[in-house]
Amino acid sequence: MSQFQKNVELVRSEVLAQDVIRLTFNAPEIAAAAMPGQFVMVQIAPGQDPLLRRPFSIHQITKDGALQILFKVVGRGTRLLAQVQEGAHLSLLGPLGRGFILAAPEKACLVGGGMGIAPLLFLAGRLSQPVHDGPRPKVILGARNRAELVPLIAAFENIGIKVLAATDDGSFGHHGLVTDVLQGLNLDSAFTVYSCGPRPMMAAINHLCQQQKISCQVSVETVMACGMGACLGCAVALKAGGYAHVCSDGPVFEAGELLWSL
């Protein structure tokens, strides 16, 4: 298991929609070792405040060693990160955690909501390889509105995937939840659903998959201090009792192993 701590250059900082930021780092070692579903810990500022790194799932990697993260500005840490100038260097730690277990693309369905879309692009790209015109996974993406969703969909279309869209306000695609779209697909039990998004969304998807006996992997987000199994701060409750640690046991879990409240 190769993990690195590297000072890497921020080569591009893009505002995709209001408060939605995509950062591109030149991080060849981490990019080369990364698997879909894994994450990096990003140091926000060089000083002691904010003290802790922030975890971000890996959004995309490219052959030239670029690594992208995608996030929404939700607090002080993400605001500071959004303000970092291109050309600046930040410390990245990764790749960390256990990623998705890959299924055959024709039997994979990716369901992302909001910033939960982030790890699914990397996964979709990996599932689509190596045959250029080969089978592609089904992808369902949801967000609050068109402005937020359209820029995120573009990256999937760039790798030849036709996205099924849903928005809360009906401004693009299905007016409603990604779960409605998923249900409408009537997937057979040979499918694997990959999901990342708000907790209620993943709970609903888990419920649906359990009913239809479809395997479901979810990528879970929590607060973290270390990202590598030392602080034990990122506990998530298990259905069987006790806790798992998102950083080292996850962030990807079999949905059925976790404790959900609908």
Partner: protein, 313 residues
Amino acid sequence: MEPVIITSDAVDLQVAIGSLALQNPVMTASGTFGYGREFESFVDLSRLGAIVVKGISLEPRCGNPPPRIVETACGMLNAIGLENVGVDRFIREKMPYLSGLGVPVIVNILGDCVEEYARLAERLADIAGVSAIEINISCPNVKKGGVAFGTDPQMAAAVTAAVKKSCRLPIIVKLSPNVTDVTLMAKAVEEAGADGVSLINTLIGMAIDLASRRPRLANIIGGLSGPAIKPVALRMVYQVAQVVTIPIIGIGGIASAEDALEFMLAGASAVQVGTANFVNPRASEDVLDGITAYAREQQLSSIRDLIGGLRLG
């Protein structure tokens, strides 16, 4: 005058905690370094002075419900709830790797009553690779109404004496800062036979989310660590150094060699790097490199010359 040329080999970094000899004063703090192996990609573990592992209890503990941690100004609060694999699994699954590193392993122990601490010490006494015991006395004594061992000099002394009687390993007592006078605690455990004291454990704190009007930790309160607590820790190390003769291990917000060296001047024989490991997994080795460079630059014949070397007046 000829310049004195000191090679890296000539820098004497050795320190001792009772009968425990360390190649250098840099340890990792319990609960911030897992069981060591988590950091093998980032740290040459064999270079460390010692590894202090996550606190171990007789039975496994699954810890507190989330959220367990929250960032605060220059620090963090945690309420992990002493989650650990239990002493049997620790010995079976964690010690084989740790004992192969060639570095002293200090096992932090915790319990609900004096007898539990004693049984833990007995269990660890003859395990290959275990070099010392660090007693976490910041736990509630369930047989004494839940008052923390670490806030009552008599209970702290009782637990120290019981552990001392149960094994021949050097015993370090990790002191809680959540007391009126830390020197009373230090003296009490010294008299009870402690070979060293380590301080400070976390300061009890709290954080509130205004938007939801709820505590940010599920446990409501938690332990504050990180650079924010360094001045408090330094003060307590200094005060304890005035009243005990046993070695002191300084802990609290150490993130750089400068931090570590300040603790040594205040009276610490060694230091533990804690929360900094979360931010920079290589922090312990960086501290060691910095101490080595300082010793060379200052042409110290031994790092021990710094211990308690604070200039006053």
